[in-house]
């Protein structure tokens, strides 16, 4: 149970004051080359590691960022998290990971605790908070990047990175139209998810654009999981057996849908076509392989983190970044 070495310990041994050691450790100027080397040697010798807590208190900089996601188990967010963490590692940051389970109460608690910990930045994915609360929460942080969510009015130090959800849905539906699908359904996401709302919006727009009547009976809502997708597909297809195409909120839901269709003996895509969203690894594992809207989540994760650190350096940053989806046509549609 040995105590950790401090600046003072190193200073004592080196026969100088803490300040000289501090300068040497932090590679600041004002220390002779000899002295610096001597100090560094001693530091290594006695296994000195700067106490980041103390440093954080003194500088008001913690070199930490908070990463808040609905569920790190969802491959989409797992990839995002990995990209964020890798980039954070490159930049010398550590990340706090917090799950919200899409629960606003838990999200609030998450933001409070991150705020209390003095993180230098916040990464908030798919926030479920109502606008006024969100704005208030987010303004406290010195920098934040939101994924799939934006504030009505541009706010200091917050940048939004959004998947182009409206376009995604349009691409899917248009593809269905082109392939003569007549009864096109949508299994949407949670009602309080902005992405879900946008995709539903794009879904409707596609009908309007093509001048085809839209039947809102063919829209059902599902939780973003395989199980829920499966159950919702049953509900939908029981009520409307003539549906011949489904655009699912995401690939998890799509996998559930696909499984259910297979169970009831539908041929895919002959009897029913399915398009998912996100292109998670599941999409290429399942048979038939899922046609889906593709994003490079890992890259997006890196982008998020890079944007966050750069936002504190540059004065003016873009307030919104839009990421275009790409339709990956595989076997399910």
């Amino acid at each position: 149970v040995k105590k950790r070495a401090t600046l003072a310990d190193v200073a004592d041994i080196a026969g100088v004051t803490m300040m000289t050691v501090s300068r040497a450790i932090n590679h600041k100027s004002g220390v002779s080359a000899n002295m610096r080397q001597k100090i560094l040697d001693i530091a290594k010798e006695i296994d000195y590691q700067p106490n980041q807590i103390a440093r954080g208190l003194a500088t008001n900089q913690t070199m930490t960022v908070g990463l808040v996601v609905p569920d790190n188990t969802n491959p989409f967010f797992a990839q995002i998290a990995r990209g964020v963490e890798d980039q954070a590692y490159e930049s010398g940051y550590n990340i706090f990971l917090i799950n919200t389970s899409e629960d606003t109460h838990r999200e609030l608690k998450a933001l409070d605790s991150l705020w209390g910990r003095g993180v230098d930045g916040l990464i908030l994915c798919s926030s479920r908070l109502p606008n006024h609360q969100l704005k208030k929460q987010v303004e406290r942080f010195s920098a934040t990047v939101m994924l799939n969510r934006e504030l009505k009015i541009p706010t200091r130090n917050v940048i939004s990175i959004n998947l182009h959800d409206v376009r995604a849905a349009q691409l899917a539906v248009t593809y269905f139209f082109e392939h003569k699908r007549r009864r096109i359904a949508h299994i949407s996401g949670p009602a309080n998810s902005i992405s879900a709302q946008k995709r539903l919006e794009g879904f409707k727009i596609a009908f309007t654009t093509a001048n085809i009547p839209f039947d809102d009976q063919l829209v059902e809502s599902s939780a973003p999981t395989i199980e829920s997708g499966h159950d919702t597909a049953r509900k939908l297809l029981t009520a409307h057996p003539d549906v011949d195409a489904i655009y699912a909120f995401n690939d998890l839901v799509a996998v559930g849908v696909l499984k259910y269709c297979l169970e009831i003996g539908k041929r895919i895509p002959e009897d029913i076509a399915i398009i998912g969203n996100d292109d998670i690894p599941h999409a290429t594992i399942i048979q038939p392989k899922l046609t889906t809207l593709h994003y490079n989540q890992y890259y997006i994760g890196q982008l998020i983190m890079r944007t966050l650190v750069e936002s504190s350096m540059k004065a003016a940053s873009p307030t919104t970044i839009l990421i275009e989806p790409e339709l990956y046509i595989r076997e399910s549609a």
Copy 2:
């Protein structure tokens, strides 16, 4: 850009000293009920949140733990992480997530930074560090739980939670024997992975136990990914086309193997049987569904975190916890 409220601010308004406020905030005794309520009201009023950095410096307790995994994108670790985080949330802790990519250098850096941040506990999954380094690293932390790794000599404040890897391999191979498989191969994991070593050991033991000659030509090593599993299967089956059963290091590898077998027209399980390890969601998504050794990773994650917080309270804790696998027979074997 408003500054955050401090204890002093609350104290000023309340007309008392910081200590009284501190006691009230921390629900400690020694404050009159009236005063306490008044202080709490003021705190809420001016949106006071304790500065955990300062608190950490003063108490030497940060209410944080470090979670180090090879890859949070691997569904196995994603589930573990989720269990850990959920339990941490319950207990009031926040977690630092760090990936190592199975790189010892990066693992070392991860442990250093966590140590510098003064985490109250460390969760180290599948460490790749050699024994002497590992021991040295881990001894610095006030408490650590390791997953799938143990120290030769029991060490103060470190608890190991291990999957029973030897048994897992034995169960797989025994199942193959019972089903008249004759040419049983093993696609092992990374050489420096303890789990990989244990599973290989169990693989061999199963042959010895059954009194059947073991052919080490039928063991190949693979990285723990789908792609690598796929490539390694090609290598193995090209050299040994007569293999009729494969036990894979984990489900990711097994999925790769399965895909390759399908590509070259093998029927599963008629021509070749495949057993994986871990039972990640992929196992039930792929066709045919994977027969595999099952663990409840989410539960294990919770167990890890619970064990960690309890270890600091109880004087004596078990030094090792062993978790039994269960063979889930599905369609691939």
